[in-house]
Structure formats: structure tokens, C-alpha cells
């Protein structure tokens, strides 16, 4: 953020001036639109009446109006125009904040956006118009789902499942405790102080308590994204904010019903508990069903790659809406849909679609979030307020108190079951990070006026609480985190060693649990993953990719990343290469099978023809795809041109080696090369496609491994190594086979390309820049 800024004061100041000018212009245009709307509306009305008048009198009057060369018809575009203007304003604000250096470091974005909303609302009010209020329907149906879907789709599964118990305790028990504590004590206070507060009934207080006690995912995301605390705390607070939606929904509807009915019985309370189970589990079930449907659909989209992202979005949105129809928890349904869909969809869709899904989700959620905060500011100015000092101060105080008590109390219970205990620092962050936000505001807005005469007071109170948490807690949490030296997010990229060992550990722990004799956490996880592999994946993932274990896909991604960075960097200094780790001493069991001469000729001919074909094909389309997507553009990227050129060069060089006639001095060399080729042909055409896929895949990975920029060097090395091996008595060194293997790999690449029907989807990649960005995004995807 601040890296973008120029250090010089002069141009910087002019930039800020420019931005403030632009902002002012925009705000004025917003005002102008409102004013002009009313003017034009009346003007248009007049226009039409005169026209109808003239029509009736037309025959007699013939008042000829001049042909309008330029006319204004604002009403036609009014609605979309205003919406676009608001979104544009929101996005420009976001841009503007990051240009001002110190501000974005100190104040979280959400605060700034609320302030902007306040300003805009104030300006609109000054103009005499009524500023728009955050419409609850708009909020729940349009603004909230993208944020939740983004959160759910990129939810880090491993920490979430490891801490599910903790999260559920905080979400369910914590929210219940908060709701009842705040509600009951508030009622007591209201009754005690008297005056107009005495009108507030018990149920009204309880419903207010349940609304105000729910931690808000939007606010939590907005604030926690900046401070980058460690994964455990983030997932606990964030998971709690997501899962407490079920509790909030149930309590809200429960108390609303009771407000209608008037009395509460024990049966009603039991029904409430049953309702909670139905709401939460039903929501999850609905989401899971849509998730499976989405995954299944993505299996067949190989011919229409362009609309793949659309399926993801549509199915998820339908899950949300379907859950809302039955008053189930829409948020939980959306989360479960994203979680269920993701692994299968990611295996099925093309790389570009994956990028599209990711960036669209981020874009929508970002816009939604900005709009929500701005509207929160505007609604503050707009909404009818009734300020009551006692009520509001007591509410804020009670919220804080109940949060702290709840967290501390629950942690005492939870720590007895956790192995990695929550320390005092952790508890403080969890308690302090319980921010309230726009969901609470919208819920209060939805309260019916007749049952809740003090609705305005509630509204004012909730706005104050939201402001307090977002401003005070949001701004101070960062210095507090630094002061308390809370563990921050690790920013090391995952390495293949770590991946290998994490998987190894999983199996090891499962095995030890089996030896120990009790079915624990690891055992069930292992069972679930085995079930997933044998049944579910077969149904939901297209083709052979269903067989690909996680380690391999991880490895492919890593390889691609490295190859592309190498290409971009033009062959950066590789400190350690394959030669350094290949043992020089040959392993004695390596016998080279003797190949009949005729076969050699045949092989060479086949390879040569393949090479020529591939070279032709390479010139037309460099990405290794057989599905020529007609809508994909041929992006002649610089790096792609380079890649193509180098590959063509490599093939040319290899064909030279092949066509060199066999000299008697170099039989071992030739035999070496063909030995590795033999492996390719060992898998005859009748073998299963998967094995052929695997065989050709790995050597092709080795190709990208060898620095392509250093290719000349490499071929020199291979030549020298070939000579070496002919001098050595033993048939071949592993060292020789190492680089020869890569040469042989080249050949098998070509062969593999011809036969390969399934492609590594990582190769249909748009470009290195996006990969690098994606790199960082991969790391922080759980934050956003």
C-alpha cells in the first residue's frame, strides 16, 4: 500500500489534491442527480401533460413544437444510474484511501468508509433531499451473499475442522449467553430507571439483546484482514461470526413470535431448541445439496469453459435463497455450499475459470463491503433517532462486559478439552475482536413498528454500538496486538518438504491411534478421506483427475510456479541443481536391455515424425491444450514467445542428436538415451491411460525443472556426461541418466503430448504475472 506512494512531497500533495477534487466532483454529481431527478420528474410531467393536451387539441390547434435535437430523459436510467454512481463512489473512495499514506496504516478501512458515508449523508441532507437508508431487503439479498460466499469458498478447512469444537462453543453458547445477559440486565435497568424506558418490555429487551450480541462477519473480516494475526485466532473469531448466524436467526424469530403471542411456555422453549437444530442443520444440508449439484455440473463443463464460474455463483446464490425461503440459516447454507463444492470444482474447471472465480468473488465481496459501510454512514444521518443516554451507555457497557465474561468462562471449559490451550492473550484478542456490524443494524430495521414502539431508540443504540466497536475497537486492536506481541501470521510459502511431512504425519498419527486402540480425530478424518476418494471423487470429478492425490497436484502447482518465475527471470542463478544431489556411484542393478536394431530405427522414425508434428503445432498454439477454446485469445505474451522459442530450439537440438548416425564409440550413450525411452514404450498402447499420463507427465515436469534459459549449458553438459559415461566401465551413471533422463524426457514429452488426452490444467495458464499475484493470494486467501 504505502509502497505505491512516492516519497517526494510535491507530486504527492498534488495527487491528494487531485483526488479530493475528484471526490468533491463526484459528491456534487450525486447531489446533482438527486436535485435534477426531482426537477426532471416535474419537468417531464409537465412535458407529457402539455403533449396530451396538445394531442386532444391537436386537430384543432396544431401547435407545432420544434424537433428536439437534444433532450434529457433522466427518469429512464435513474435507478441503474444511481446504483452505478454509488458503486463508483465507493470504489473511488477505496482507491483514494490507499493513496494517502499514513491514514490507511492507522485507521482501518471500515472506519474511513463509515466517515465517508456520514459525509455523503450529511451533504444530501443539506441539499434538502432525504438520504437513502440501508434497505434491509437489499442488504440481505444483494450485499451480504457475496461476502459470505467469498469467506466460505476460501475457508481454510484444516484449521477450521481442527477447532470446530471451540468455534461451536463460542458461536452457540457464547451468543446465547450474550443475548440473555444483555437482554435481562437491560430490562432490569430499564425498569429501574423508569420514565419512558419503562415501556420497553422484557421481550423487546431480549430481542434487542439477541440482535446486538452477534459478532458480525463483515466487520471482523474488514478489521482482521489488516492486522494479520495467526491462523488459530483468526479462524476462531471468524468461524464464530459465521456460525452464530443460526443462533441469531432462531432467537430473532423466536422472540418475534413470542412478541406476537404474548406469553412464553416451556413447550415454546423446547420448540425453540428444536428450531435451532433444524435451522442450523437444515441450512447446512441445503448448502451441501447445492454444493454437490454444483460439483456434479462442473464435471461436464469441459466444452463450455467460459460459463464455468457462473455455475459456482448461481448454485451458491440459489443455496442461500432456498435456505432463506424456509427461514433456515442462509449464511450457514452458503458456507457449506462453498466448502462442499470447492475441492471438486477446482479439480474440474480450467485454470482460467479458477482465476475468474477467485477474482470475481473478491471483487464482489470488496464492493459489497465498501457499500455496506458507506450506507451505514448514510443511514446514520438519515434514520430517525431518539437518543437516550442511559440506554445507550448501558448497552455498550453490557456488550463489552458480557463478551469478556463469556469468553473467559467458555475458555475455562474449552481448555479442558483442547490440547493446544488458549492463553490469556488469545482470550483477550477473541474478546476484543467481537465486533458488531451491519447485520445487527439491518435486523433492527426489520423490526415491526407496532410491536416495538421504541424502535428508534433501538436503532440509535445499535448504531452507537456498531460505531463504537468498529471505531474504537477496530482502531486500537492493531497497536494492542503489537503491544501484546500476539503471534502473527506466518508468511513463509509452503514448501514441498513441509507438504510431504504434513501428509506423512497424518498417516503416522492415524497409525499410532490404531495401534493405541482408540478411534480418535485422525482415524475418522482418515476414514472420511478414504470414503471421499473411493466414492465421491469418482462421481464428481471428471476423468482421471479423480485419481490424482493431493501431493501430486501440489507438486504440479509448485513446479509451474517455479518454471514460470525462472522464465520470467531469464534463468536466475540456480544455486543447487540436480547434479548436486544425484549420487555419482551408479546403482548396480541398472541393466540396460539390449534392443534389436530394427526397433531402434523404428523408434527413431516415430520420434522424428512426432517432433515435426509437435513443432508445427507449437507454432500455432503454445499452450499444451487439446481443447482449442475458440473464445480464448492468443495472448502473445513476451514470456510465451520466449517459451515457445526455447522449446523449438530444444526440439531442433534433440532431433540433431537423434539423426546423428550411430558411431561404434558411442553405443553406451545411445543405449542410455533409449533406455529411458524404453520406459516410455514399455507402456504399450494397451496400457491404461492413467499410467501413460503419469509417465509422460513427470518427465515433462523435469523439463521445466531444468532452467530453460540455461539450456545451451545443459545440452553441453549432457554431451560431456555422455562422453563420460562412455568412458566409465559401468553402463551408466545415475548422474548421466539424470540429465539424459531429461533429454529422454523431452522425447517422451512429445510422445506424451500426442497421446495425452488429459492435460495438466496448470499448463493452460494466462501468464506469469497473475501466477505471482495468485501466489500471494494463495497465502492470504484465508484472510479474504
Amino acid at each position: 500500500m504505502s509502497a505505491l506512494l512516492r516519497p517526494a512531497g510535491g507530486p504527492h500533495r498534488s495527487l491528494v489534491r487531485r483526488w479530493s477534487l475528484l471526490v468533491a466532483v463526484l459528491i456534487l454529481s450525486v447531489m446533482a442527480s438527486y436535485v435534477s431527478a426531482s426537477v426532471v420528474r416535474t419537468g417531464q410531467g409537465n412535458g407529457t401533460t402539455t403533449r396530451t393536451d396538445s394531442k386532444t387539441n391537436g386537430t384543432s390547434h396544431h401547435t407545432k413544437k420544434a424537433f428536439p435535437v437534444l433532450s434529457i430523459n433522466y427518469d429512464y436510467v435513474r435507478m441503474p444510474f444511481e446504483i452505478s454512481l454509488w458503486i463508483l463512489l465507493a470504489s473511488l473512495m477505496k482507491l483514494g484511501f490507499h493513496l494517502v499514506p499514513r491514514l490507511s496504516g492507522v485507521v482501518p478501512e471500515s472506519c474511513l468508509l463509515i466517515v465517508v458515508g456520514l459525509l455523503v449523508g450529511g451533504l444530501i441532507k443539506l441539499m434538502g433531499e432525504n438520504p437513502p437508508v440501508l434497505d434491509s431487503k437489499l442488504f440481505f439479498l444483494c450485499l451480504l451473499p457475496p461476502i459470505i460466499l467469498d469467506a466460505g469458498y476460501f475457508l481454510p478447512i484444516r484449521p477450521f475442522t481442527e477447532n470446530t469444537g471451540t468455534i461451536l462453543m463460542f458461536a452457540v453458547v457464547g451468543t446465547l449467553w450474550n443475548a440473555f445477559f444483555v437482554g435481562l440486565i437491560l430490562y432490569g435497568v430499564c425498569q429501574a430507571t423508569g420514565g419512558e424506558l419503562r415501556e420497553v418490555g422484557l421481550l423487546a429487551c431480549l430481542i434487542f439483546g439477541s440482535i446486538v450480541s452477534a459478532v458480525d462477519p463483515v466487520a471482523v473480516l474488514a478489521v482482521f484482514e489488516d492486522i494479520q494475526i495467526n491462523e488459530l485466532l483468526h479462524i476462531i473469531v471468524f468461524g464464530e461470526s459465521l456460525l452464530n448466524d443460526a443462533v441469531t436467526v432462531v432467537l430473532y424469530h423466536l422472540f418475534e413470535e413470542f412478541a406476537n403471542a404474548g406469553t412464553v411456555t416451556l413447550v415454546d422453549a423446547c420448540l425453540g431448541v428444536a428450531c435451532f437444530l433444524v435451522v442450523s442443520l437444515g441450512g447446512i444440508l441445503v448448502g451441501a445439496i447445492y454444493g454437490v449439484l454444483g460439483a456434479f455440473t462442473s464435471r461436464f463443463t469441459s466444452h463450455t469453459r467460459v460459463i464455468e464460474p457462473l455455475f459456482v455463483f448461481l448454485y451458491s446464490y440459489m443455496a442461500y435463497l432456498s435456505a432463506e425461503v424456509f427461514h433456515l440459516s442462509g449464511i450457514m447454507s452458503l458456507i457449506s455450499c462453498g466448502v462442499v463444492m470447492r475441492p471438486y470444482v477446482e479439480a474440474n474447471v480450467s485454470h482460467k475459470s479458477y482465476t475468474t472465480i477467485k477474482y470475481f468473488l473478491k471483487m464482489w465481496s470488496s464492493v459489497s463491503e465498501t457499500l455496506i459501510f458507506i450506507f451505514l454512514g448514510v443511514s446514520t444521518v438519515a434514520g430517525p433517532h431518539s437518543w437516550n443516554w442511559t440506554f445507550i451507555i448501558v448497552t455498550i457497557f453490557l456488550c463489552l462486559l458480557s463478551r469478556v465474561l463469556g469468553v473467559v468462562g467458555l475458555t475455562l471449559v474449552i481448555n479442558r478439552f483442547r490440547i493446544v490451550k488458549l492463553t490469556g492473550k488469545d482470550q483477550f484478542i477473541v474478546a476484543y475482536g467481537g465486533l458488531r456490524g451491519a447485520i445487527a443494524f439491518s435486523l433492527v430495521f426489520l423490526l415491526p413498528e407496532d410491536h416495538f414502539p421504541m424502535k428508534n431508540m433501538f436503532l440509535t443504540a445499535i448504531i452507537t454500538v456498531v460505531f463504537f466497536t468498529v471505531f474504537v475497537q477496530g482502531m486500537t486492536i492493531r497497536p494492542l496486538v503489537e503491544l501484546l506481541a500476539v503471534k502473527r501470521k506466518k508468511d513463509t510459502k509452503s514448501s514441498i518438504n513441509e507438504e510431504i511431512h504434513i501428509q506423512f504425519l497424518d498417516h503416522l498419527l492415524t497409525g499410532i491411534e490404531d495401534v493405541c486402540g482408540h478411534y480418535g480425530h485422525h482415524h475418522w478424518k482418515d476414514k472420511l478421506s478414504r470414503f471421499n476418494k473411493s466414492y465421491v471423487k469418482r462421481w464428481l470429478i471428471a476423468g482421471e483427475r479423480s485419481m490424482e492425490p493431493q501431493l501430486i497436484s501440489f507438486y504440479h502447482k509448485l513446479e509451474l510456479r517455479q518454471a514460470l518465475t525462472l522464465l520470467e527471470g531469464g534463468g536466475a542463478a540456480v544455486n543447487v541443481s540436480m547434479q548436486n544431489i544425484q549420487p555419482r556411484r551408479p546403482s548396480p542393478e541398472r541393466l540396460i536391455p539390449h534392443m534389436p536394431k530394427g526397433r531402434e530405427e523404428e523408434i527413431r522414425k516415430i520420434l522424428r515424425t512426432n517432433l515435426q508434428n509437435t513443432r508445427q503445432r507449437l507454432r500455432s498454439y503454445s499452450r499444451h491444450t487439446l481443447f482449442e477454446d475458440p473464445l480464448e485469445e492468443e495472448e502473445e505474451d513476451y514470456s510465451e514467445v520466449q517459451m515457445r522459442k526455447k522449446r523449438v530450439e530444444m526440439h531442433r537440438r534433440m532431433s540433431h542428436y537423434l539423426t546423428v548416425p550411430a558411431k561404434p564409440q558411442t553405443p553406451p550413450a545411445r543405449r542410455v538415451r533409449f533406455e529411458s525411452d524404453n520406459q516410455v514404450f514399455g507402456s504399450t498402447p494397451t496400457s491404461t491411460p492413467s499410467s501413460r499420463f503419469q509417465v509422460s507427465l513427470v518427465p515433462s515436469i523435469q523439463v521445466s525443472r531444468a532452467p530453460i534459459a540455461r539450456m545451451e549449458q545443459m545440452s553441453q553438459e549432457s554431451v560431456s556426461l555422455v562422453d563420460e559415461s562412455s568412458q566409465q566401465q559401468d553402463s551408466e551413471g545415475k548422474g548421466a541418466s539424470g540429465s539424459d533422463g531429461s533429454l529422454g524426457a523431452e522425447l517422451s514429452v512429445i510422445r506424451g503430448e500426442m497421446d495425452n488426452l488429459r492435460l495438466p490444467r496448470c499448463f493452460s495458464d494466462p501468464g506469469p504475472n497473475k501466477i505471482e499475484e495468485e501466489d500471494e493470494d494463495e497465502e492470504e486467501h484465508f484472510m479474504s
Binding site: N415, I419, V420, K421, K490, T492, S495, I496, N497, E498, I500, H501, I502, Q503, F504, L505, H507, L508, L509, T510, G511, I512, E513, D514, V515, C516, G517, H518, Y519, G520, H521, H523, R530, M547, P549, L551, I552, Y555, L558, E559, A573, N575, V576, S577, M578, Q579, N580, I581, Q582, P583, R584, Q679, T688, S690, S691, Q694, V695, V698, I701, R705
Partner: protein, 216 residues
């Protein structure tokens, strides 16, 4: 349950508790499990562990069983493998999987991490020469992927090679083309696995309740 231990056994249990850090109930449960696995004999053999049905679908079953019979894990000085183990050795190996206690100082955590990583290292370093060579690492990856369907050794080789390269780059920095990286030493192993907090990950829950009745 657990009331009829004879006095000398109690005494032994307390010794074990001091040595390994388990609680008395946990030791009792593990002893019951030991007796169940060894069919009430005093020693456990590899075959007995092989017969556990749940272990059958574990890809690294052989290594896990080997680890129980590896003398390096018995916290005594010596290498090689034994054919059968007693309860004390069983308990010692199990103690590697105890979770860290709540108030541990930084040094204690570091020590625990070393101990656990040493166990993992021993599992990989089968010939006990102090380094994990490329062959051994390839073997590890092959075993890990062995259950994943139609897989070639080539893929495993590729992955192991890449991993080895990574270790070499991290530990050795720059190497001349004729230098040879012998293998992963224990120090290098510690360095590359510093990121995953092994002391919080490598543990299982040892219950105080007897569950041998429920499981095979």
C-alpha cells in the same frame, strides 16, 4: 475398572510415569492394549502389530511398525532393530506422541520439538548413517503415494528429487556443480521443518478411559 493392580505393578507404573510423563490411568490403559495386542504375553512382536486390521490400509504401515522395534527410539544408546519389545519400550515409543503441557518455556518447547523431529528422522533414516539420502527420501515418498492408485515410481522420484533440491538450496545455499550433497542431516531436517510447529501437531489424545473394549 483398574482397581486390581498388584503392588509391584503399581510400583512399576509409577516408574514409567516418571520416565515417560503419562498419567497412571493412561499407563494402565496402554498396558491393557499391550496385553490385547500381544495376546497376554510379555513381549510384542512385529506380527502382532501387523495383524491390526485398521492399520492395513495405512500406506506407511511398514515404517510405523519398524519404528516400534527401532532401538534408537528407546532412548538408550544403540542402533539396530529388535525382534520383540516389552511394555516399557512400547510406552517409550508412545511417549513421543504426548502433547505439550500448558506451561512450557521456550527451551522446553525447543527440546520437545527436537525429540519429536528426531523420531521422524529415525523413521526416514533406515540405515542409521545419520543422513537421509536421496534413495531413502524417494522410498518415503513412494510409500506415501503407494495407496493412491495407478502411480508410477517416476512421479514419486520427481517429487522426492524436488524436495531434496529444496533442502539442499536452503541448507547449503550455493553449491558448485561438482559438489555433492550427501543427504539431509538432522540439523538440516530441523531447519526445513521449522515452519510446521511439530510439537503442537504431532500428538494424539491419550484417554484416561479404557477403550480397548470398543476397538479391535
Amino acid at each position: 475398572m483398574g482397581g486390581f493392580h498388584s503392588v509391584p505393578q503399581d510400583h512399576r507404573y509409577r516408574d514409567f510415569a516418571d520416565k515417560t510423563g503419562f498419567s497412571l490411568e493412561q499407563i494402565g490403559n496402554l498396558h491393557n492394549r499391550f496385553k490385547q495386542l500381544s495376546h497376554n504375553e510379555d513381549t510384542l512382536r512385529k506380527d502382532d502389530l501387523n495383524k491390526i486390521p485398521d492399520l492395513a490400509c495405512n500406506p506407511i504401515r511398514a515404517q510405523i511398525i519398524e519404528a516400534f522395534f527401532d532401538k534408537r527410539n528407546f532412548q538408550s544408546h544403540g542402533g539396530g532393530t529388535v525382534e520383540e519389545i516389552g511394555f516399557e519400550e512400547f510406552l517409550t515409543v508412545m511417549s513421543y506422541f504426548r502433547p505439550p503441557s500448558l506451561n512450557m518455556t521456550e527451551e522446553q518447547r525447543e527440546e520437545l520439538r527436537r525429540v519429536k523431529l528426531r523420531f521422524l528422522f529415525n523413521m526416514h533414516d533406515t540405515d542409521n548413517d545419520g543422513t537421509i539420502t536421496l534413495e531413502e527420501y524417494r522410498h518415503v515418498v513412494e510409500e506415501l503415494l503407494s495407496r493412491s492408485g495407478a502411480l508410477c515410481r517416476e512421479t514419486a522420484k520427481g517429487i522426492a528429487d524436488a524436495a531434496m533440491l529444496e533442502v539442499a538450496s536452503i541448507s547449503m545455499g550455493h553449491m558448485e556443480p561438482d559438489e555433492f550433497y550427501e543427504g539431509i542431516t538432522f540439523e538440516h531436517f530441523l531447519t526445513i521443518l521449522k515452519g510446521i510447529e511439530i510439537e503442537s501437531r504431532m500428538h494424539i489424545r491419550f484417554l484416561n478411559v479404557d477403550t480397548t473394549v470398543l476397538c479391535k
